[in-house]
């Protein structure tokens, strides 16, 4: 049976109990909570002014976390799924960086994908020495490696990390920059910049001209696999807009005629077998 007013009485009983109940307020300036020594406050990811995550999955936070509490995964700029976290299998615990974090002498890693890739270690050591083994020279070293192999083999990156004593996460993060490839690709990659400056300066005309010259639409690869055309927001050539990138080299400012000419030149030279990219890879 419904008794009118009973609900009000129930509610008043609750508030009446609360009246006598101990209070939850913490009297802040007088009462201060005891924080553990290692308390670092609330962790949060930061955002740029456009509301985008500033996190670029560079793994540096995971790398420096003293208790290895950070486990993360994401996609690098090439769209590869990458993961960093606690070593979950025994082999992963042998990762040189796991040793390094533990303060043990690091040994080369044994369980690496594509370990069988042949790398000219002496040559790579020479390149690193030539750059003076400075961390800020990483990009130059990467360029040299990509120039020789057409992409950045993982083994080469591991060697760079070990030789230069730079965290793998940092090397890998730097390799994710635009212009470097982590997977072997045949042929040339032509990237047309689509940043605001380049589009304003006539980047769209460049794109249609190149698409016409190569006979492929943006995002496609030609039938023989020698040429790929793509667009990117980050060719990072603001001062020379409009710009394109052919493999690692950036050209600009270009007119549509010049861009056609650049590609046509390369197509002519690529026809000569001695200059074929795959041929320069040591067997």
């Amino acid at each position: 049976m419904r008794i009118p007013g009973l609900g009000i009485l129930k509610g008043m009983r609750q508030t009446g109990r609360n009246f006598w109940a101990p209070k939850v307020t913490r009297q802040y300036p007088e009462e201060r909570p005891q924080m553990p020594d290692r308390w670092r406050g609330r962790l949060d990811l930061i955002y740029d002014p456009f509301g985008e995550h500033k996190c670029e999955v560079c793994f540096q936070c995971a790398q420096v976390c003293p208790v290895e509490a950070i486990d993360m995964s994401g996609f690098d700029s090439q769209g590869n799924r990458i993961r960093y976290g606690l070593p979950e299998i025994y082999e992963e615990r042998k990762d040189p960086n796991a040793y390094r974090r533990a303060g043990l002498p690091a040994e080369p890693m044994r369980n690496v994908a594509r370990w069988d890739e042949a790398i000219d270690t002496a040559w790579l050591g020479g390149v690193i020495d030539g750059f003076g083994a400075r961390p800020e020279a990483l990009i130059g070293i990467f360029s040299a490696v990509q120039e020789r192999y057409g992409y950045l083999p993982e083994r080469a990156l591991r060697l760079i990390s070990d030789t230069m004593v730079i965290h793998w996460a940092q090397v890998f993060g730097a390799a994710g920059l635009g212009g470097f490839r982590l997977l072997p690709t045949e042929g040339h990659l032509v990237t047309v910049c689509r940043c605001a400056a380049c589009r304003f300066a006539g980047g769209d005309a460049l794109l249609s001209a190149l698409s016409d010259e190569l006979g492929i639409a943006p995002g496609e690869t030609s039938n023989d696999g020698a040429w790929s055309l793509e667009t990117s927001d980050e060719v990072a050539a603001g001062a020379i807009a409009p710009a394109i990138r052919i493999d690692t080299m950036i050209y600009g400012p270009l007119t549509a005629v010049q861009a056609r000419h650049l590609v046509a030149e390369r197509r002519k030279s690529a026809a000569a077998p001695a200059r074929a990219r795959t041929a320069s890879r040591p067997s």
């Binding site: 009000i8 008043m12 508030t15 009446g16 609360n18 209070k23 307020t25």
Partner: protein
């Protein structure tokens, strides 16, 4: 000589009552701040003075210090008059309030009629405030508050008619004397008490019937354009009215200044006045506490529920109560 004494007494009593309203408002506001906080598991204000005692006082002085702004297009005369009317309605109704034996400012024979006539004046003040603000939302707020208060005045007054019929008097002092003889009106008029309490909450715009102000939704209805001490007067009037309604309920249904059974009901002379004051204020503030308790418990009702309650439930119930009371008085010759 008698006339001179009478004028002096009247002047003294009114001055004292007017002076009393301000601390009363402070006490009631402070109670509201503290009690609701406690019921929400907080401590409430506790920085100003010992236990935060002077929080509401500081609020009052804050109103004094604020700019008193009048909108350009507002009707200055009525805009200024409105807070005064609302406040005076509350303060004047205290004239007949039976605080203690010998402590009634004006002990005249139609005190109850006077009380309900004067307390109703605040509706006029609110309407004026809404109209004079030159703001259509204020005007709507004023009309809403008038609708609510006029609606609830009818069951409020009718519920008291039962008490009057039973007590056979319109004088507060005589009514309390009747209650001393026959027991508190609470026993004789429980339905009347319930109607009176609900209607009085609506009449003074208290939760759960405070849609007129609805602080969080309406920006204070008719007082939107008011600032500074003018708003302060509305604010004070509301809390003084809460005390007054509690006091009148005490006088009408809970034996006024009479002590409950285990104590001597009444003492003689000046001691009796103090003793009466003690019991009157104790009971009145108890009902203020209950009103605050209700505010901490209940959400606001809808406006259609409010009106439906007045016309479909309270009014018929009050009529029936009056009919039964009058019949009983006739039949049993009470």
């Amino acid at each position: 000589m008698d006339l001179l004494f009478g004028i002096l007494r009247f002047l003294l009593a009114t001055t004292l009552l007017l002076l009393m309203t301000i601390p009363t408002a402070f006490v009631v506001i402070q109670m509201e701040l503290k009690v609701i906080a406690q019921m929400q598991l907080r401590y409430g204000p506790n920085r100003v003075g010992p236990w935060g005692m002077f929080q509401s006082t500081i609020h009052g002085f804050k109103f004094l210090a604020k700019e008193d702004h009048i909108p350009d297009q507002a009707d200055r005369a009525t805009f200024t008059l409105a807070p005064w009317m609302v406040y005076m309605a509350a303060a004047m109704s205290m004239l007949v309030m039976p605080f203690a034996p010998g402590a009634i400012a004006a002990d005249f024979n139609i005190g109850i009629v006077y009380f309900f006539a004067v307390i109703g004046l605040s509706v006029v003040g609110l309407l004026i405030a809404g109209w004079a603000s030159y703001n259509k939302y204020s005007l709507l707020g004023g009309l809403r508050s008038a609708a609510q208060m006029v609606s609830y005045e009818i069951p409020l007054t009718l519920s008291v008619v039962g008490v009057v019929v039973l007590g056979g008097t319109l004088n507060f002092r005589e009514l309390i004397a009747w209650q001393q003889l026959h027991g508190w009106m609470l026993i004789w008029q429980p339905v009347g008490l319930g109607i009176f309490y609900i209607a009085s909450l609506a009449e003074i715009n208290r939760t759960p019937f405070d849609m007129v102000e609805a602080d969080s939704e309406l920006v204070a209805g008719p007082f939107t354009e008011y600032s500074g001490m003018r708003f302060g007067f509305f604010f004070f009037a509301e809390y003084v009215a809460l005390f007054i309604m509690s006091g009148v309920m005490t006088a009408l249904f809970f034996g006024g200044w009479l002590a409950p059974w285990p104590f001597p009901a009444q003492l003689e002379g000046f001691g009796g006045t103090l003793y009466g004051l003690l019991w009157f204020f104790l009971k009145s503030y108890m009902f203020v506490f209950v009103a605050v308790w209700l505010r901490a418990t209940l959400p606001r009702v809808r406006v259609d529920q409010l009106m439906g309650m007045a016309w479909k439930v309270l009014l018929p119930l009050a009529m029936l109560n009056l009919l039964v009371t009058a019949g009983a008085v006739l039949v049993f010759n009470l």
